[in-house]
Symmetry: C2
Subunit: 340 residues, 2 copies
Amino acid sequence: MAQPSQILLAHGSGGRLMHDLIHELFQHHFSNDILDELTDSAVISKLPDGDYDICFTTDSYVVNPLFFPGGDIGKLAVCGTVNDLAVVGAQPLYISCGFIIEEGLDYDTLAKIVESMAEVAKREGIKIVTGDTKVVEKRSADKLFINTSGIGLKPKQLQLGTQYVRPGDKVIINGTIGEHELAILLARGEFEFEARIQTDCAALTGLIQDVLKVTDKVKFMRDPTRGGLATTLNELVSGMGFGILIHETRIPVRDEVRAICEILGYDPLYLANEGKVVIVVAQEAAEPVLQVMREHPLGKDSQIIGEVIDEPKGKVILRTEIGGHRIIDMLTGVQLPRIC
Amino acid sequence: MAQPSQILLAHGSGGRLMHDLIHELFQHHFSNDILDELTDSAVISKLPDGDYDICFTTDSYVVNPLFFPGGDIGKLAVCGTVNDLAVVGAQPLYISCGFIIEEGLDYDTLAKIVESMAEVAKREGIKIVTGDTKVVEKRSADKLFINTSGIGLKPKQLQLGTQYVRPGDKVIINGTIGEHELAILLARGEFEFEARIQTDCAALTGLIQDVLKVTDKVKFMRDPTRGGLATTLNELVSGMGFGILIHETRIPVRDEVRAICEILGYDPLYLANEGKVVIVVAQEAAEPVLQVMREHPLGKDSQIIGEVIDEPKGKVILRTEIGGHRIIDMLTGVQLPRIC
């Protein structure tokens, strides 16, 4: 059946139009052996041999605008959930997607986003195995929201967590910060800058798996998304018997990002990233890890940005360019809404 | 930290306020060993021994209004996802929840819904193990949307699917149809009826597991939600080498539902249910299954409503009260939006 050029309420009502949408768009692009069964739950029977934990995560994506330099909500929705699995050390395998669509969304817009999701999933070797579509009236949602939940497998012997972090451990990041949030901000067209900053949105599984292959001394990983690097480091030290010292001069920030932040009064430390990971490793593993990260396309600007310290406990300290020290707190209040 | 009486954009920005919300509301009510780790992905290591398939499902809930007789969006969000797992024969175990909140939602409203989710999860022995919170600006969403994804385990030897269905098999439903959708419609206050119809929203795992204990002759199960019983039966026969004959006089419909449908011009066959399951079983198992279903609180009005027939293939035929026959098609167009 030919699809109307816009999404109608009837696309969400469970009837013929929804079934056609599922077959002609979603199944067409996402097709795989598990999804194609179209059962109420995906039935996954092919798990690899070995001793694994199942990892499970969810994220809703409400980014505005839907398309921005370097990505779109679909790419973000797959990469973001993949990264939440990757940073706990899992191999992401299966993803669900739930669409909440505002009545009147162009069919072609939805199709482009679905293609984008399919492309990332294919490249990352991930199967989209189950989904759901809801359509709400005009002005009951803003164009499109996507939830992706993901399942991955982590070898049981891989133990990560703040409880393994010790003073002396090194803090590494795989590149420059702040690009995703600024890319979204500029894509909204509220400012006129020549700079065309692209999101750093990327799936980090390959980079992270490379790291896990060279060492068993990784203690903790997290992707600094909403709230930025500052918030992620604060989450890491919160309530723990150690602090973190980071060095302003070692934190990779692109010149354009720095310049725009200065004009707009933003701090890159609090800007969201979508292709970055903070890795805490034992001191002796820091250099080999840095080297393997720099050999990966997503890690060529990797830096050791700081270390875990004894005192002050539970605090993140920034050693500034001119040699001062200041406490970096978690983000309070709102910086930008709907960046992811 | 004391929470503001309304949800602010800052509750979604990744900073302090979001962390407090997660700890004071979500973790407070949902607390369990896996969730409490608060890692980027839930790490699930305690799977039972035995030979199981992993089942995985997702659903977004956008029901309007948030509260209605017999339930609310939180109860619906847990029961709905539990049921999608239960009907493939799985024991639901773990659930994720993703909240998309409109700025300005009353904190107490959110808290009530979270309590409702926690209550169902507890009663059903399910752990809410991972979550996500997004807040969008006023008028970018309507109050609250919830996505729940779920993981369950199904014994590998349990094989269900349309490919096992054969002419002669019986079609059973566990009770009266149409209540959920009418309850939502009436709760919107657009009509003035004395009748106070309650949603049938319920988690079906117990009932379904009781059935699976008495027979290995179950062929197929599905919960007739959006599009109602008519659509579910059409999905079952679509493209298959058999049809289904159902008998109007055997389909359980409450008198109030029938009366309101007559006034408003709705057909109960197309109304959504949230606590019903259609079970197809081999003829010889129909009576024992019916009996065990009727012993369960959610199945006391169970009926054998029809049977699988040779011809016409791919069609659902209704034998009407007066003895005529008509083809029952899938829902086309929209009946009511935002019922789930």
